[in-house]
């Protein structure tokens, strides 16, 4: 496994609290963080709150000369921990079937395409329920664009373990979903 990380689109060295780089970071990572939190089971409102708290923590972290290495992983880790703290709604809603609410997602699709898409999502949702919590979290962070090393840092596990977990999860989904 290589140890390289995807370079971010902004210079992360010497970020200052309240600087324009932090604002750019917020614009770039707000949506991936929201998606991650919502998929973990938080409501949209809860996810918005957590993202705000995460960036407030970043300000404090930078103001106190905290480490600036892998800020993206740091942000996801803080978000992950905050989601854990809201355990009441965590781990529950991601694999809920979305039913008829999917209709609006593909307005330009034909009815047949919509039905197929809906069926595909339904099968995937069923398969996601079969994943372990660790497998699901690895896949979510991977979908958020994090490298295996960063995922390992967020979840507190070894990079090789992340590779094995992702592989196992994808194989399970491919087998059960048959997409």
């Amino acid at each position: 496994m290589s140890d390289d990380s995807v370079p971010m689109a902004l210079p992360l060295l010497r970020l200052a609290a309240g600087s324009s780089e932090v604002t750019t970071l917020y614009r770039e990572l707000r949506k991936p963080l929201l998606r991650y939190l919502v998929c973990l089971g938080l409501t949209s409102d809860e996810a918005q709150d957590v993202v705000q708290d995460v960036f407030l923590s970043l300000q404090r972290h930078l103001a106190s000369d905290g480490t600036q290495e892998n800020i993206r992983g740091w942000l996801f880790r803080v978000a992950h921990n905050q989601a854990r703290n809201r355990q009441t709604s965590y781990h529950r809603r991601f694999s809920e079937p979305l039913d008829g609410e999917m209709d609006f997602l593909a307005d330009d699709a034909t009815p047949e395409q919509r039905v197929l898409e809906k069926e595909k999502f339904r099968r995937l949702a069923t398969s996601i329920r079969l994943l372990t919590e660790s497998e699901r979290e690895c896949l979510l962070l991977r979908a958020g664009g994090l490298r295996y090393r960063e995922i390992g840092e967020v979840l507190g596990i070894a990079t090789s373990t992340v590779g094995d977990t992702v592989e196992r999860a994808i194989k399970k989904l491919a087998e059960k979903c048959n997409v």
Binding site: M1, R35, L98, L140, I170, K171, L173, C177
Partner: protein, 184 residues
């Protein structure tokens, strides 16, 4: 089963070193089974990403709908309040316009015209004026009646389970609210 199969997903995620990646690519070119597996893994990954987007979109939509419900309820409440309190109308103060006469501006007074004889209508029998009087205890007939169910006035979940009512508004032709009635 090929040994390379264990590295396919890592290759897909660009997590292999350049040497390992080159080895996988060479193998894939000649192995149909690995190509099929790779395609399946890629498709699952893409579907998973799309599903995450869909989950986020649906939850965001639910949030927006909640706000729409709340705003709609507030608007209905505002309309009801407006209709209920608009009965006491405030008359605007009379505008004082100074009377301008010919004398005041120094113009000669126009010649006084002889008034034309008014046409008088003689009725054989004087008709008594029709008296519109509402029967005692009965409200005047309403021009508009509106029935608003409780679900339309409050956001979902705000009403206790089992409790439901309909607010009926009767609005008179002059725009005033004649009656507000709640019924089950």
């Amino acid at each position: 089963m090929c040994d390379v199969q264990a590295k396919l997903i890592a290759w897909l995620d660009r997590e292999l070193s350049s040497d390992e990646a080159a080895g996988v690519e060479r193998h894939i070119e000649g192995c149909k089974e690995c190509r099929c597996r790779l395609a399946a893994y890629e498709q699952v990954s893409n579907t998973f990403d799309a599903y995450c987007d869909a989950v986020e979109a649906v939850k965001t939509r639910r949030r927006v709908l909640r706000w729409v419900h709340a705003l709609a309820s507030a608007a209905v409440a505002a309309v009801v309040m407006f209709l209920a309190f608009s009965r006491t109308r405030i008359e605007p103060p009379p505008v004082l316009i100074p009377a301008i006469t010919a004398a005041s501006v120094g113009l000669p007074a126009p010649p006084e015209l002889e008034s034309a004889p008014r046409k008088t209508i003689h009725r054989r029998h004087p008709v008594a004026p029709v008296q519109v009087r509402a029967a005692k205890g009965q409200p005047m007939e309403a021009a508009v009646q509106i029935a608003i169910p409780a679900e339309a006035m409050f956001p979902p979940g705000a009403m206790p389970k089992g409790l439901n009512f309909i607010a009926e508004l009767s609005i008179a032709p002059d725009g005033s609210v004649k009656q507000v009635r709640l019924r089950q």
